[in-house]
Symmetry: C2
Subunit: 197 residues, 2 copies
């Protein structure tokens, strides 16, 4: 989902700056705003008692996040934190609901973006269940690749091993071991500790 900035501003939206690692909303918090990233990136994730984390989704410039929660009477299923210094435009729930009411083409766009998210999440679940760490990692690399520009040749994976671990629900050491194994099998390339896929 992406709404034109001028439109958002004209409806009274305000931009807000977040430092790196700042919380935008918490798990189980109530949804009050529509959030759209102007610049930066945001991570939605859960963490459990052992400090293990699971990244639900990553968002970059132009993406909105947490918008599904605006439609239902449930609290946020996960936490949102900025990955780096980030500027986000916020619009109140009420105005957002009015906006999509007012502009059918936006409502349609919104619907499609929800449908896409369902699709993505279905694939994630089916990937996770597949158990094999390598499979999970490949699944992650593939989803992120779509967000990347390059098509030919290999792309630098802009995530630390820890981040990949958080995304796949694995442990750092496991990620490392699987990656080096995949390197030997030429499924990825590791040059100077940097991962290429």
């Amino acid at each position: 989902m992406q709404i034109d900035l001028d439109l958002l501003f004209s409806w009274g939206a305000i931009a807000e700056k977040y430092k790196k690692n700042e919380t935008i909303f918490d798990e189980n918090g109530t949804a009050h705003f529509y959030y759209q990233i102007i610049d930066g990136s945001v991570r939605l994730y859960n963490s459990n008692d052992d400090g293990k984390e699971f990244t639900q989704d990553l968002f970059i410039n132009g993406d909105s996040f947490g918008d599904a929660s605006l439609l239902i009477d449930k609290t946020y299923p996960s936490k949102a934190v900025s990955l780096k210094d980030t500027t986000i435009i916020k619009l109140t729930k009420e105005k957002f609901l009015k906006i999509i009411e007012e502009y059918p083409y936006l409502q349609k766009k919104f619907m499609v973006s929800l449908a896409q998210k369902i699709h993505a999440k279905s694939e994630t679940s089916s990937g996770i269940i597949n158990q094999k760490p390598e499979f999970r990692i490949v699944a992650f690399l593939n989803t992120f690749k779509r967000k990347s520009v390059t098509c030919s040749d290999r792309v630098l994976v802009p995530y630390t091993r820890q981040e990949i671990a958080n995304f796949t629900g694995l442990r750092v050491e496991t990620v490392i071991r699987v990656c080096t194994r995949m390197n030997h099998l030429n499924k990825v390339e590791i040059i100077n500790h940097k991962l290429y896929y």
Copy 2:
């Protein structure tokens, strides 16, 4: 999502009967129809090479399924199979899209149902990642309980151990062992091999 049957029929929808375990659509198939269950139940799931299965969702009377795929240019992320003899009403994709265009209240209802699905799937993912088998099983029992009527006392769980295993991505034996353990801890009850929660 649920659309009035008369309305569906007036738009040329047709009811179709499926025997138990019949496939309604396949993973990676193209979405051509809106499906709504008149009577029976349907399971959406993935299976991997080892024959291991993961149930994405279960649907009963009045539920629609696979509708998110009608909005996007992607194939079905999972397979749909009837759990028992089931009657389903089908409407072509084109007519479905027209219907929700025509009736704003339906479009809104559809949007909300998509948002709910996202929420549910987010919770599933965060649950799965939690690793602990017991946690996964409890998560499953909770989601299914919502679909059940009883509130007071314990409810008979209408699923076989195998079905629970498929839903949680665990193995039958693991499910059995965890359940007996939970029985001792009084978290569930097993009477005559039947599971109550």
